[in-house]
Symmetry: C2
Subunit: 393 residues, 2 copies
């Protein structure tokens, strides 16, 4: 069915690991193809914080995303459309994804799901979700405070104007602490929203975009199965895993494992909002094809450099031991940012120079693109365990 | 005499304008040559704020500077030396200048000279100058508050460790409001400091650096003449114009004009801390060879884009008229930053995205390097007046 709905998209699984569910794929979009597993870098408000999209590309980034919620508020989908869509606006000619806008709205309403997925504190300031109903969600804009309603249909219309290749159905992202009964009801409403998203998508389908359905169901394995089967049986191009994945690494592996067991086997699967190095290894083994996380650029703002083989996956450039260290951030990463000395970065971070954030962001993006390249190579040679030991100590 | 003291440096005046004192030159250093007139971009704390030195080079920057005062406090000259000096640390292989450290100390003591030269407010917080004597200046470090003494000798020693090609004698930078008597006494002390700077420089001269003497004398033409003659008769490689240039464009032209009349005619002349577009035209006509100013990167942080032919030399990207403007920042400037649409920059500035500062900083540096290239071409063809009408409206 996908061939009819998505004539300009394809996903080919080229190789399956003999020792895990890891797989190599190729995802084709109107803006080119990416090899999977791959990592989608976050350009939240149509900006990768401190670097241009072209700079990210020079560091090996293949695909980026922006957040519908932020863009619908500022500058507004109509303005993005007038500026030629996200690709033209940002100077990015590769594949791109937008989310539905739901995640930010619900995380502002609940708090804890954002804590859980994004590692962010929520102090109540941001509780701007006013109402959820079958129709959609009503929330207060942080620009001016006016009320905005987001429905499955309006999310599709907005994402159409933004113009990303891969777009996502609206779903309710429930909080970590909610009970099974609420989770089940919410999940089934998300399924109805998925059907409405698909119907609206097809009404104006121009072949330029492809829709992902979302699996919800929290930490409850039977619900995850039900949701995976829902997405499997609908005409989505890809499948995304949303919602709470539990409170531990083991629980995340269980939840994602159930999703993968029942999800459509031939479609690309995206794991929403997860992207630490250990997470990537764990979930690649379960068959995840794409990841996204703000952490590579966010931790740069706190002075952290992602580093192959470093304790906790990273170096704290504030540490006094780097004071006169002439060692490059990563001599074996072939990009200019990774060649700066640790001593220089220590100085820049301590001096609060914005250049520290720019360099560390670029270094971190380069480190993640290297990780994904090495993971793809390791899947091909069935040496993922060995590679993991090099990255994680 | 310069050939002996500065065997690896030269300054050749290649062409003199028939209609003004404007001139084309070539300044050779151990890290390569620059064509003059040229603009020295400010990397205050060994960082061009939001871009790498290599990025500045790709935008046409030929020479950069760092501030001795900031670096002696953080990370300290010894650390910079251990990290291989400023060039290695910053990844910059072109010519570089450091100042003496005096300007920041005295501007913190006085306030008004900084207001005058740098367009900066001083609210008294920063008054950290404790004492000035014949020996040197004692000030309080902003890191930890300890007392530091800067003398002509220690300034040379510190600049030796920092390793810039062009270094500057210590001088006292007097406030705008001081009377002629104080200005004269201060200037003569600066001359004695210049002699001590030169003596210390020669004691350890390794051929890798060249010293500029500084002309002081405030707005008093006879003092400016005396100071110009002082520098002319000493073994400095180049001459810098420091101190107050008065309160108006006309007074600046008068003061710089006197300096140029009596300065050594064959040495490069640097105008310290001045670098608006109109300033550059005015002072190129008086024979100034190099400029420096923080404004290209500083105004980027306030959302301003330097622009050829724009009122007040720049565009305010916050302005609502740019909201859905697909016009590039400057289509005729051949660098990626200048190709982003004004609408995109409007969005980034309004959304407080750090990328706005990065893009506008790069665009502004590119605009200034273009200005200097066009000015050099216009001097060659004696069309400076025509070029000025294109830039300044």
């Amino acid at each position: 069915m996908s061939e009819t709905t998505y004539p300009n998209f394809s996903f080919e699984i080229k190789h399956k690991s003999p020792s895990s569910h890891a797989r190599l794929g190729r995802l084709l979009t109107p803006h080119g193809a990416i090899d999977t597993p791959n990592y989608i870098f976050c350009g939240t408000k149509a900006a990768l914080r401190s670097m241009t999209a072209a700079q990210a590309k020079s560091l090996g980034a293949d695909i980026i995303l922006s957040n519908t919620y932020h863009l619908m508020i500022q500058p507004g989908a109509d303005v993005v459309e007038k500026l030629g869509g996200l690709h033209a606006m940002m100077g990015w000619d590769g594949p791109m994804l937008t989310d539905s806008g739901g995640f930010q709205i619900f995380s502002m309403g609940h708090g804890t799901i954002a804590d859980e997925i994004k590692g962010r504190r929520n102090d109540g300031r941001d509780k701007m979700l006013l109402n959820i109903s079958e129709e959609g969600a009503v929330f207060k804009s942080y620009m001016g405070g006016g009320e905005i309603t987001l429905t499955p249909e309006s999310s599709m219309q907005i994402q159409r104007k933004l113009g990303a290749d891969l777009i996502v159905q609206l779903d309710e992202c429930t909080a970590f602490h909610v009970d099974k009964d609420y989770t089940a009801k919410s999940m089934r409403m998300s399924h109805r929203w998925g059907d409405r998203s698909l119907a609206e998508f097809k009404r104006t389908n121009d072949g330029k975009q492809a829709v992902y359905g979302i699996m919800q169901g929290g930490v409850y394995q039977d619900l995850r199965q039900e949701s995976a089967e829902y997405t499997r049986d609908r005409d989505f191009f890809g499948t995304a895993i949303g919602g709470s994945l539990g409170g531990s690494r083991a629980q995340m592996v269980d939840v994602v494992g159930v999703c993968m067991q029942y999800a459509h086997p031939d479609r690309p699967v995206h794991l929403l909002g997860i992207g630490g190095i250990q997470d990537v290894f764990d979930n690649v083994r379960l068959g995840i094809d794409t990841f996204d996380c703000v952490s590579p650029t966010r931790i740069a703002r706190h002075g952290w450099a992602l580093s192959k083989g470093a304790p906790r996956e990273r170096l704290n450039m504030r540490n006094a031991r780097f004071r006169d260290d002439t060692t490059p951030l990563a001599a074996d990463q072939d990009n200019p940012a990774s060649q700066f000395s640790r001593g220089y970065l220590h100085h820049l971070v301590k001096a609060h120079e914005p250049l520290a954030i720019h360099i560390l962001s670029m270094h971190n993006v380069a480190t993640i693109t290297r990780l994904m390249r090495e993971i793809r190579a390791a899947i091909a040679t069935d040496t993922l365990d060995q590679l993991e030991k090099e990255w994680i100590v």
